[in-house]
Symmetry: C2
Subunit: 330 residues, 2 copies
């Protein structure tokens, strides 16, 4: 069991803190007595949702606003010890449709946050959320942090630039930054509005609504699904490291399964739903990355963190979370 007592009374800023991962981090931090500030734009395109912090609303400070607004951010940054930067355009599929918004949110956003920290509070620790989609086609297994990066989406290019900013500000300005590179997170507090990311939640919704779950091809591509609370713990674990200088940490369950098995597990656990196999749409095949076997040795060695929620347990917990509040998420 990881000890997060060091967060007691630490001043923590979570950008995108009403979203999927940000709110799971906030839920954890409240338990450890951190002083939590959230900035979230509640942009309807993304996963920000006040329901995600309903239980802890009176114990956190929430600013509904754009984290690219320097006048909003300056005073907040001055009063912060640790920043979890989760605000982002989060769909690789949308990134080709809204290339300049993706650039602005996923490059200008983190760059400005780093610049403001450098000016206002260079000792603040910044943990940046990145994605396996910086990698592109998988060319070596298992996927370590030094795997080549050849993104196949603008989302991936911009997340890669975001990573490089954090490495550069550490190398050149000595700032304390780190990068958490996620596989496929899912679970409680994820968005359920569309199928553009976090498919386990989307499939759960389809199953609950009695609609078919479609799988492209044979669904044998390997993926690594990691549960929401495990992801939150990973961010907290990396956030505790005081000497990271732009290091990248893979974050996944460390166990890869076929995409189809994820869908079948949902149907089995929920005892609902029906899977249909359909051909790959032509435009999807080019951006299919290949099997994902994420090495999570580095984060274990550096922080002691490892995933603890199995896929079955995760699906059950996700379903239990959403059952009484589904209408708030769709």
């Amino acid at each position: 069991m990881l000890d997060f007592e060091a967060y007691r009374e630490r001043r923590v800023l979570i950008t995108g803190g009403l979203g999927f991962i940000g709110s799971n981090i906030a839920q954890k931090l409240v338990q450890y007595g951190a002083s939590i500030t959230i900035v979230d734009s509640l942009d309807p395109l993304y996963g920000g949702n006040p329901a995600n912090v309903a239980e802890i609303r009176d114990r956190i400070t929430v600013h509904v606003g754009d984290y690219r607004d320097p006048s909003l951010m300056k005073p907040i940054i001055r009063d912060t010890d640790i920043i979890f930067n989760l605000a982002a355009q989060v769909s690789y599929i949308d990134s080709s449709r809204i290339p300049f918004s993706d650039l602005d949110l996923n490059c200008k956003g983190p760059l400005q946050l780093l610049e403001l920290c450098r000016e206002q509070n260079p000792r603040a620790r910044i943990i940046f959320a990145s994605s396996r989609l910086v990698l592109g086609k998988v060319v070596s297994q298992p996927i370590r942090e030094d795997h080549p990066t050849e993104p196949l989406s603008l989302y991936g290019v911009h997340k890669l630039a975001g990573e490089k900013y954090h490495r550069l500000y550490a190398a050149v300005y000595g700032m304390n930054t780190a990068i958490v590179r996620l596989t496929n997170p899912y679970g409680e507090r994820q968005q359920l509005k569309h199928n553009k990311y976090s498919l386990p939640g989307w499939f759960m919704r389809l199953a609950q609504e009695g609609k078919p779950i479609q799988i492209f091809g044979n669904g044998q591509q390997l993926r690594d699904y990691i549960y929401a609370t495990d992801v939150a713990d990973a961010f907290l674990a990396v956030g505790q490291l005081t000497s990271t200088r732009g290091e990248v940490f893979n974050c996944g369950s460390g166990r890869s399964i076929p995409f189809a098995e994820m869908a079948e597990t949902i149907v089995r656990v929920l005892k609902k739903g029906k899977i249909e196999y359909v051909p790959w749409p032509a435009d999807y095949e080019r951006i299919e990355t290949g099997d994902v076997n994420f090495s999570v040795k580095k984060i274990l060695k550096s922080t002691g963190w490892r995933a603890s929620v199995s896929l079955e347990e995760g699906i059950e917990r996700m379903d239990n979370y959403f059952a009484p509040r589904l209408r708030l998420y769709i």
Copy 2:
């Protein structure tokens, strides 16, 4: 000798075509009878200079404007076979001072050009100018195209994102793109206003003006200087390849010399100037990349191009070029 006859009557667009490298490309293309359009903003911060095309002004079309303006670019792109994209913020030093301008020019600019091509003319060939500064600290010698990329400047991060865009648009949309990654270009038509890039020209100016040439440390770091007309030939050679799909080509002389030797060669060739050795400024050491030994095997093998102008000859040609027109460049 390379044959560029294939450019006859080809419609070529050069963004940043009044600048250092763009105008050297234009000078070459005029010889081969290409139909040349230049878009250049003549932003006083950068190297765009009408003097660079004075001799060929009546044989080219020049639009003074911002290549990020879609209404300007759309009709031009529709009528173009090959695009050399040279428009950029070109100083890695300035990039930390104007981070958001660098982002806008060096990321949004090329992204928008690719988007416009994808919409208007997906068969256009696009050659993107990149820089050794995408690499950061040199970790293996000689530096091949697959050397790790860990930029130490925002300029480097944004050029890296620019490269990745071109690779992505090739991989996902099948567009015909290529990247030329330059070492240290110098020579005729370079800017001489300040010391932020292309130091051989700057040192030539100092020598001609009787001012001391300062070298940080012992000046023993290796650099690869490549002459303007060789660079232009390299772009033309890569631009002739019809099947590149986002490939990167290193472009350098293939011969590395100590920084100090470059300065000494200028003093020797010009028979003027005086070198002073001074300590490294504190903020420079962190971003010093280490010795540069560029491998140029790939471009030779793929196109037949190799550098032909020695440093001595280049300095002499540069000096001859600037002598009668120095006032137009300072």
